[in-house]
């Protein structure tokens, strides 16, 4: 037995130094982990919900600094409509949609999904209250609800990064501290871009979308797929270049906004896709 062990040691040493191929110990090629079961509704929600959350932040910031009233109104509506679409998207993805209210049975701070469900519930209520109060002419109530919806909106824009990051999926877990920034920048860029496409041309929107594009260009993750490459290209370099041109041209600014929105949607699809790939490659 001693000799046998010595041979094993020699083999291991040879594998370490690279003189022979190491023995990859796997159970055939069966992945260790299960792939995420989420369909398109979940990444679509990341896009819509994140953008809506950031739109609420922009609405409150615009209102507090006395910006154009129609910009405030449009941003509030984007937030409210986005929130209204978010719920149905998530419910559609559940295996048992009729039980969606079970999300409200408990509050578990240790579960990003539970925290997220409550953030969405709060955001949906507050963003709807904001537009409703505004419609009915209760300006003070609309402003208060607007600030509160912006606070929950900040959660909407970023928590989805934690939702993916704090899992067993290696491609997500590795980037747990990048994901909230990436999703947040993507959300901010898409909210500012949506407002620009609605015809608003405030410098603030341009600055914020430019900042998001700079972040997307600088913080690029190693692309694992064609989708991720396309997402990064459309969220980073393309709008960045167009926005530099767009210092003079409104048309370039609008093109940049369209690229950012498409890039933001692709970013969310690409991250979910990379999770599926990562699970399929996982081993012990």
């Amino acid at each position: 037995m001693i000799d046998e062990r010595r041979l094993d040691e020699l083999r291991e040493e040879a594998a370490r130094t690279g003189s022979v191929a190491g023995k990859l110990l796997r159970y055939y090629d069966v992945p260790l982990l299960k792939a995420p079961v989420w369909s398109w509704e979940v990444p679509a929600y990341f896009f819509v919900g994140g953008g809506a959350g950031a739109a609420a932040v922009l609405a409150a910031a615009a209102r507090l600094t006395g910006a154009d009233a129609s910009l405030v109104k449009d941003a509030r509506w984007i937030a409210a409509v986005g929130a209204a679409v978010s719920g149905p998207l998530l419910i559609a993805d559940l295996g048992r949609p009729e039980r969606f209210l079970n999300m409200m049975r408990v509050f578990k701070p240790q579960s990003p999904m539970s925290v997220g469900a409550w953030i969405l519930a709060g955001f949906g209520t507050l963003s709807a209250a904001t537009v409703l109060a505004d419609l009915l002419g209760f300006e003070r109530i609309a402003d208060t609800a607007g600030v509160l919806s912006a606070a929950t909106g900040l959660g909407m824009a970023t928590y989805t990064g934690v939702l993916l990051g704090a899992t067993a999926i290696p491609a997500w877990a590795e980037h747990v501290s990048l994901l909230p920034f990436h999703f947040g920048a993507s959300a901010l860029g898409s909210a500012a871009s949506a407002l620009q496409l609605r015809g608003h041309d405030e410098k603030a929107l341009h600055i914020l979308a430019f900042g998001a594009a700079v972040f997307e260009t600088a913080a690029a993750v190693p692309p694992r797929s064609t989708t991720m490459k396309a997402a990064e290209f459309l969220s980073g370099p393309v709008p960045l270049a167009l926005r530099l041109l767009g210092l003079r041209s409104k048309r370039a600014r609008r093109a940049a906004a369209a690229a950012t929105l498409l890039g933001s949607l692709l970013t969310r699809l690409a991250w979910v896709e990379s999770g599926r790939d990562s699970a399929a490659e996982s081993g012990p």
């Binding site: 023995k23 055939y28 049975r105 994901l179 920034f181 603030a204």
Partner: protein, 262 residues
Amino acid sequence: MTPGTTGFFTDSTLCIGCKACEVACKEWNGVPDDGFRFTGMSYDNTRSLGHSTWRHVKFVEHEPEFGHGGNSPSHMTWQFSSDVCKHCEHAGCLEACPTGSIVRTEFGGVYIQPDICNGCGYCVVTCPFGVVDRRPDDGRAFKCTFCYDRQKDGLQPACAKACPTGSILFGDLDELQRVADARIEKLHGLGMTDANIWNPTETSVGGTHAFFLVRGDASQYNLPAAPRVPTTLLREGWTAAAVAAGAIALGSLLAFALGGKR
């Protein structure tokens, strides 16, 4: 049985690959078939644990390898091991479940309450062992129940009861640990020096209620050496989210203060 301390000890050196555990589990729990797919690899046509496979017998085959001490054909190994949900001490699925459907039972097992689960799928990506899965035609997540119903009635789980060789033992965890230690000592004495216990007590999973005796590297049984419960990533994730949220809020206010006009 002391409440909260029961477990499985699965000894792969006693397993004969009969799959009685798989059958007993399916029969007792009314688990549907898993597709009758032919994998074309070994005698394992089940592949892995899943929504409709709560016990899974692995067939671990190793051909003699040139350059790897002992090239005699007699060194071909064929080992079996019945896998099951690990019922982690710190269970990723339980922590992540947003409905509170997944609970810790009085016997220490991790149990999905089927009348609460709404099929959100978050447990699927937070299990470090790839055990839980959502059953497509049902919509809910399923895994080993640790035969909660049988344990309630003082019975042992169906798989342990059906195992004809004593490879699957059920009982008090401390008692099982003693059995395992004695077994290791005996096997080492017989010259099976590669026999070892897999139970990730030193990781964030904090040990399991289902531990295994395997030969050689546990990786070849798809048992990870360093599993991590995803809740250990929460601090990092939420810190990043808070900083990102702060940057978005501050950036928006600054941008509008500086350039709120057209």
